[in-house]
Symmetry: C2
Subunit: 343 residues, 2 copies
C-alpha cells in the first residue's frame, strides 16, 4: 500500500489514488500525533474525512518512527518514553495509548505497539524484545475490547529463526484480525530476511491477512508473495519517483539520464499509465531537472501505477496458478537488465 | 493568464487547468531557450505537444527575464547580449532571433523584443528605449512575414505620459495583431501606473486585444479593465498560493494563521472551487506547514479558480453593463477587509 505519512500520499491527491485503482493507504500515527495532532483529526470525523479519502486506511503504531526519528527513546516494561522530533517535547507511549490514538484517528486497521531492536543485536536482546512485544500484544487485545477497527498482531524476532518461531506462536495465539511481520528490511541480508520470513510464514494462519511491514522493491514483494505474504507497505515507489527513478516492466529507469534529453518516446511504450500515455522522456527529464512540482507528480503516478499493476498481476497469476512462472520471468528480466535505460 | 515559465504552470497539470476553465497560459521564451532548449520543444512538434496543453499559449520575448535574471546584459542597436543565468554562457538576442525562437516554440501569440528600462530612469533614457523599441518592432514586423502566429506590439514609455503617447502612436501604426503595455508594475506608484495606462489605453485600437503585461493583484486587474485592458498575465495567483496566501471574495486569506488550526470549515464557504468544496482550513494549514506537495497544489487550484472566476464575472458584468458597480463593490469590500481572515 502507498504510504501517506502526513495525511496525504506525497504529491498525490485522493482522486488520483482512486483513479490508479489504489484501495488502501498507510498513515503514520506518530507523524499525525505530532502534526496536526489526533484531536484535530477526530474533530473532522477521522482521518478519512480529514484527507477526503474513502478507501481503506491502515495506521501503524508509531513505534517504528520513534525508533528511527526520535533523538531520545527509553523503553521500559510499561511503554516508550520519547522526545518529539518536531518540537522536542516528551511523550510516553503505551500499548493502550497507541490503541486510543488510532481509535481517534479512525483508521480501518490498527497496529499494536511492539519493540523492534536494531541491527546487529544479540540473541538475548532480541529475545527480550520478543517477550516485550508479546506482553504488549496481550495488553493491546485487552484494551481494544469493543473496537470497531481491525487490529493486527506484529511478529518480531530479528534474524533468529527460533525467536521468529517463538514470536509467531505467541502472537498468533492471541486472535488478532491479521498478522504482520515486523523488524525485517532494516538492513539484514537477503538470506537472513528470507529464512526469518519462511519460519514465520508457516505459522501465520492462512485465513487471515499476512502483512510484511516496510517492504519493498518489486523483487522483494514477489519473494514475499512466494512465501505467502498478502500485504506490503513501502515508501519506495513514491520516494524514488521524487528522486527521478522509475520502475518499469523492463527494469529501472533513470529520468535524469542525458540520453533521454531529445527522446520524444514515453518512458515505457508498453505501459498503460496516464504518464506513459501522454508525456515524453524529454519532458519528464525537463520537469525533473527544473524541479517542477509536476515532475514529482507525474513520476509518482507512474511508479504507483507500476506497483498497483504488479499487485494486480500477482493476484491474477495466483488465481490462474501461473504465479511461479510470472515470478521467474520477472526475476530473469530484472536480473538481466538491472537498469536497462541507463546506457 | 496563468504563467508557466518552464512548460508547466507551477504545481498544475494541463488537465487541472482545463477543468478550471483556463483557456490560455503564458510560457517564457527565455526560460525555455535555456532549458530544455527550443530544438527539443520543436522536436516534439511545439510547446503544446511538449507539455500536452491544447489551449492557447502566449510566449513572451524573453527580454524581461534577461532584464531581471541575467548577471550580464548589454543592449546595442542590433539587440541584447547577455549571460545565461543557468550555465553562464553568452547569447545574443535580436528582434529577428526572438521571432524565430517563438516560431520554434510554436506558441499562438508571440511577443517582440523590446527595451524595458528600470526605475528610476531619466526622461532622456526612457526616450531612447522607446525609440529602440520602435526600431525593433519594425524589424519584428518585417521578419515575421508569413508567420502563422499572432504577433503583438509592446508599448513602452515608463511613467512619462508624453513618451507613452509617442510609443503608443509608433507601435500601433505598425499593424500588429494586438497591443501590449510593457514596463508597468515594476515598482512605480499606483498613480504613475494609472496615468501611463490612461494615455496608452485611448490610443490602442479597441478592435484588437489590449494586454497589460505582468499585472496583477485583483484590484489592479479591475482598474486595468476599467481603462480598457482585455488581457493580463501574472505569477501572483500561483506564487502566493505556494506561499500560503489565498484570494477570496472576502479578501486575502493566510493559510498558516493559527486561528485555522482546528477549523473544519472550508476557506470560503461561498466558493465553488474544488478545494473549498472538499477540504477544511485545518487540513490545508496542516499540508502547508508540513510542506506537502499536495498543499501547493490545492492552494494553487483555489487561487487560479478565484482569478478565472474574477475574469468570468468581469466579462459578465461588462456584457450586462454592470461592471462599474461590480468594480466598486469589490473595491469597497477589499478596502474594508484587507486580510479578513487574519484576526
Amino acid at each position: 500500500m502507498p504510504v501517506g505519512t502526513l495525511a496525504t500520499v506525497k504529491a498525490m491527491s485522493s482522486q488520483e489514488l482512486h483513479a490508479l485503482g489504489c484501495g488502501i493507504i498507510l498513515a503514520n500515527s506518530y507523524h499525525l500525533s505530532q502534526r496536526p495532532g489526533p484531536e484535530i483529526v477526530r474533530l473532522h470525523g477521522g482521518i478519512h474525512k480529514f484527507m477526503k479519502w474513502d478507501g481503506a486506511i491502515l495506521t501503524d503504531s508509531g513505534g517504528f518512527q520513534i525508533y528511527s526519528l526520535s533523538s531520545f527513546r527509553k523503553v521500559d516494561d510499561d511503554g516508550v518514553r520519547f522526545r518529539s522530533h518536531v518540537d522536542g517535547s516528551y511523550f510516553f507511549m503505551t500499548p493502550e495509548s497507541v490503541v486510543d490514538l488510532q481509535q481517534q484517528l479512525g483508521s480501518d486497521i490498527a497496529m499494536p505497539l511492539d519493540e523492534c531492536v536494531g541491527l546487529p543485536s544479540e540473541h538475548a536482546a532480541v529475545r527480550l524484545a520478543v517477550n516485550k512485544t508479546y506482553q504488549w500484544a496481550k495488553r493491546t487485545i485487552a484494551h481494544k475490547a469493543n473496537s470497531t477497527q481491525a487490529h493486527f498482531g506484529i511478529i518480531q524476532g530479528g534474524i533468529f529463526p527460533d525467536l521468529r518461531r517463538l514470536s509467531a506462536l505467541q502472537i498468533t495465539e492471541l486472535g488478532f484480525d491479521g498478522y504482520a511481520v515486523g523488524g525485517l528490511s532494516v538492513g539484514e541480508s537477503k538470506a537472513d530476511m528470507q529464512s526469518a520470513l519462511s519460519v514465520v510464514s508457516e505459522l501465520m494462519p492462512p485465513v487471515k491477512p499476512r502483512y510484511l511491514m516496510g517492504v519493498g522493491a518489486p523483487l522483494d514483494i514477489l519473494e514475499g508473495v512466494a512465501l505467502g505474504i498478502d500485504m506490503f507497505d513501502c515508501v519506495l515507489p513514491t520516494r524514488t519517483a521524487r528522486n527521478g527513478l522509475l520502475f518499469t516492466w523492463n527494469g529501472r529507469y533513470n529520468v535524469k539520464n542525458s540520453s533521454h534529453k531529445n527522446d520524444t518516446r514515453p518512458v515505457d511504450e508498453s505501459c498503460e499509465c496516464p504518464v506513459c500515455r501522454e508525456y515524453s522522456r524529454a519532458y519528464l527529464r525537463h520537469l525533473y531537472l527544473t524541479k517542477e512540482i509536476l515532475g514529482a507528480r507525474l513520476l509518482t503516478i507512474h511508479n504507483l501505477y507500476f506497483y498497483l499493476d504488479l499487485m494486480r498481476k500477482i493476484r491474477q497469476t495466483i488465481a490462474s496458478s501461473m504465479f511461479s512462472a510470472f515470478y521467474r520471468e520477472f526475476k530473469d528480466r530484472w536480473d538481466r537488465r538491472p537498469c536497462c535505460f541507463e546506457s
